[in-house]
């Protein structure tokens, strides 16, 4: 059988999703999303260095619905990748690799991501309003 014809694992149609595997693939997805967000950071910095007109076009885009949606997605991705990244660093020391700890840590990451994202946006909106 040619390698391209071989079935791939996991078989997604019949795969039973678990918290651990969902968080694992989300870590990658968030990382890829943050790479795109890093380009925005450079765009923002270059625009600020270029002058008020260039900066205003970036600021207008970020203040639009699409811009705000992207910023929210990047905030979520950043805090998720940060929290889950710390979970990975703990695993790298050889700790917390049993089933109970991976689930407990996973739920901590989910809660932490939600809490940090919420706090950041409440702080951002109050900073904008003041």
């Amino acid at each position: 059988m040619r390698s391209a014809d071989r079935p791939l694992s996991p078989h997604l149609q019949i795969y039973r999703w678990q918290l651990t595997s969902v968080l694992s693939i989300l870590h990658r997805a968030a990382g890829v999303a943050l790479s795109a967000g890093a380009i925005l950071l450079v765009w923002w910095l270059v625009a600020a260095a270029s002058g008020p007109d260039a900066y205003q076009s970036v600021a207008d885009f970020l203040g639009s619905w699409l811009g705000l949606l992207l910023l929210f997605g990047w905030t979520l991705s950043l805090f998720y990748h940060l929290c889950n990244g710390i979970r990975h660093l703990v695993w790298d020391t050889g700790h917390g690799l049993d089933l109970k700890s991976t689930y407990l840590g996973g739920w901590f990451v989910v809660g932490g991501t939600g809490a940090f994202t919420l706090i950041a946006w409440i702080a951002g909106i109050s900073s904008w309003a003041s």
Binding site: S3, G31, A38
Partner: protein, 126 residues
Amino acid sequence: MRSPLGRAIGLGSAKDGVEHWWLQRITAVALVPLSLWFVIAIIRLVGADADSVRDWVGNPLPAILLVLLLIATFYHASLGLQVVIEDYIHAEFAKLGLVIIVRLACFAFVVAGIFAVVSMAVGTSN
């Protein structure tokens, strides 16, 4: 960088897997405080105009931290994206091509970002 065991037994990849893994972790550790600082700094800058941003980058500490953030971010991104590409792209030519493009793009973006920060920090931009 190879693991001592891999070198001693002579098995496994003869490439630089350990260095890749290690640098991914070092940049990750650096990004924990840097990204938290960045989020707080950005929250304080919500609604700022170009002049306020330039004034802010004109201070040494934000400028230095921004440069460190850019280096750690794009190094970490290029290592991470390389693994994603190697896992999902199986055609050798496309895989190699994408890895090269990601490497070059990350390098270009980090240079552009650092240049923007430095030009604002030393006040030579218009």
